[in-house]
């Protein structure tokens, strides 16, 4: 076998796989067709446009730089690939006051405005696909959800039910500042002295804004809804 044949063999065996699993899917997914809404199934026409608010790009950067993806995933697998959908709060809410069961699997539109989908490496912590929804509706239903997350970020073991958490403290995303006049609206409920308070830095604010934007249980068009029997609109 000459070197030419050898290199050709290598290139062919590698190149076919490379085209089939990288190049073609890359171009196909880059130009994903928008989903047309239909009057009878969705009650309106036009195209589906996923809603998302908050400092997504900024916050995703802080999320990436501090390695959140190492312990937290952002994917709700369909039931053939795992039991994520069954958990009462991961995939949405089991009993939402307005919409009933909002749980659904992740779809390709859930990562809008992000450069890289942080699917995650290991589940040492819970899935974060719906952390924004969970904090707003379950953990801090009557309080400011951002403040709940600030306190959690500063000390993940602050709340008794989370004593066993192994999440690192992100104290370095907070600064202690002198209170001038009234206390800052974002100040942590603990820490500081008579004259000082702990407040989040701009990075912490971006991260929390991003986490609160993670509400991947919004209604989807009929074409993407894999459990239409739930009638969750």
């Amino acid at each position: 076998m000459s070197l030419r044949t050898f290199i050709l063999g290598l290139s062919a065996s590698f190149g076919i796989a490379w085209l089939a699993v990288i190049v073609v899917p890359y171009f196909k997914m880059r130009d994903m067709a928008p989903i047309q809404l239909s009057e009878e199934a969705d009650g309106k026409t036009g195209i589906f446009y996923p809603k998302r608010a908050g400092r997504v790009a900024d916050g995703a950067l802080v999320y990436a730089e501090n390695g959140c993806y190492l312990c937290h995933t952002q994917v709700i697998r369909p039931t053939y690939a795992g039991n994520d959908l069954y958990r009462a709060d991961w995939a949405g809410l089991k009993e939402d006051a307005d919409r009933g069961d909002t749980r659904r699997e992740t779809n390709a539109f859930d990562f809008t405005y992000e450069k890289f989908a942080q699917i995650g490496v290991t589940r040492l912590g819970p899935d974060l696909s719906n952390i924004g929804r969970r904090v707003e509706s379950l953990y801090a239903p009557k309080a400011d959800p951002a403040k709940w997350l600030y306190a959690h970020l500063y000390n993940p073991r602050y709340r008794p039910e989370l004593r066993a958490s192994a999440c690192p403290s992100y104290r370095f995303l907070f600064v202690e500042q002198t209170i001038k006049g009234s206390r800052s609206l974002d100040a942590l409920p603990f820490g500081g002295t008579e004259t000082t308070e702990l407040v989040p830095t701009s990075e912490a604010k971006a991260l929390i804004s991003y986490l609160l934007s993670l509400k991947k249980d919004q209604p989807v068009p009929a074409a993407l809804n894999f459990s239409p029997a739930k009638k969750d609109g």
Binding site: F6, G9, S13, F14, I22, L70, A81, G82, F111, F116
Partner: protein, 499 residues
Amino acid sequence: MSSDSIPNPTQDALLRSSIDRSLRHPVMFFMTSGAAWLAVSIILGIISSAKVHSPHFLDGSAWLTYGRVFPAHINALVYGWGFQAAFAVIIWLMARLSRQECRSAGIILTAGHIWNLAVSMGVIGILSGNGTGMPWMEFPSFTWPVLLASYFMIVVWSFIQFRVRPEGHVYISQWYILAAMVWFPWIFLTANLLLNCFPGHPLMGAGINAWYKSGLIFLFFTPVGLGTAYYLAPKVSGRPIHSYSLAKLGFWSLTIIAPWAGMQKLAGAPIPYFLPYFGAAATVMMFIPAACAAANILRTAFFSKDAVAESPSLRFSIAGVISLVVMGAAALILNLPGSTLKLTQFSIAGYGFELLSLYAFFSFVMFGAIYFIVPRITRREWLSRRLITMHFFFSIYGIMAVAVVALFAGLEQGSAQESWQLPWMNAAVTTRPYAWFATIAWCFILFSNLFFFLHLALMWLRLGRRSSHPTLLVSSHGSSPHGSEGDIDNTGADHAAAH
């Protein structure tokens, strides 16, 4: 496969000695700086692993937060140690097997320094909070063109040496090394261009990243490790390769199967459904090339049981090849779609598998190669049998702990994660014992490598023994495991009055 086509043994010894001399500085540079990065990586590994079960350990500092220390650790292990050990072996093996002196040592050395600079900038970049957040590609994005350029400056000479080699046999080692040399830039360029320069759909980005990780393991570290083991086993045991057709089967099955692997990490994510299934199928089938190559190498080495007992090179590389079988079995058992894949997909078994491939298989073979090559290029023998034995046994304890993590953690942690009726904290706590195993593994690996670092540093300072008897693990000086070629090549050259 040593010297059947060479008529004159003296000339042959002279040639080998001059090849070794021409490569002394680059090879020693890659080995020592690789070992230094291994030390850095082990320390970062202990810190990050301890944080998984003891979150208060070195808590609250930005530079030492888990999310930065862990990527710094794994990237230092891959690009600092893994690649540099691979470079040392690639340039030395290719020169020896192509019977060409290296005429570009200066350029290789310069490129090696640039590679090290880029890795340093990358690790500092991650620790200072400028990582990209893409597993195994966390170095800030300015580093990748530098790494790629220096890679070409390092290995292109080996390709040229192969081109101008005297006509004749192509060794199995050369197949593997050529393949790794071709595949790596292709994978590296694809992943970096598509993720850093032309980002497409964010989910496809995650898929390409998973494929990249798998590609580095199966298409770079595996072939380099196998190429080296295919050199050491017959060379040290003095026997020809057991079966040439089995070697062919092992090689071509690797080239056909491995490029499809990787995307099973995205099973259940909204990417085209065939991608995770192809990835899982390919990863499961990786058992075939692993088993073929391992059976062949082990059969070759165990022709000479004395050599396996006596030679540090052979003992390390045989342990590495046995780990390859465990790694192949882990790939087979842990990635079955529908049963085990959903358990291991997001479990600590992923890290266990990476350590199994990077340390238990690849690094062990590299240690074997280092114990073989360093005496030849420094013309000194290793100082102490005891240091080598300590290095070997404590590393074995380390990899046994790693194997426990790889094989059992995923299944148990995954089952806990799948028990959706129980609170999440239940699954989170299940991981802790295995996190302890990972920390213990790193502690053993650190302890074992202290002996290795000390020993290598002494050799680097040219304080090795001046002797014509190789340092063996058994005290009898009766027969040499290096076969009829004599004890050490440079002795032959000296005796033949090389200069």
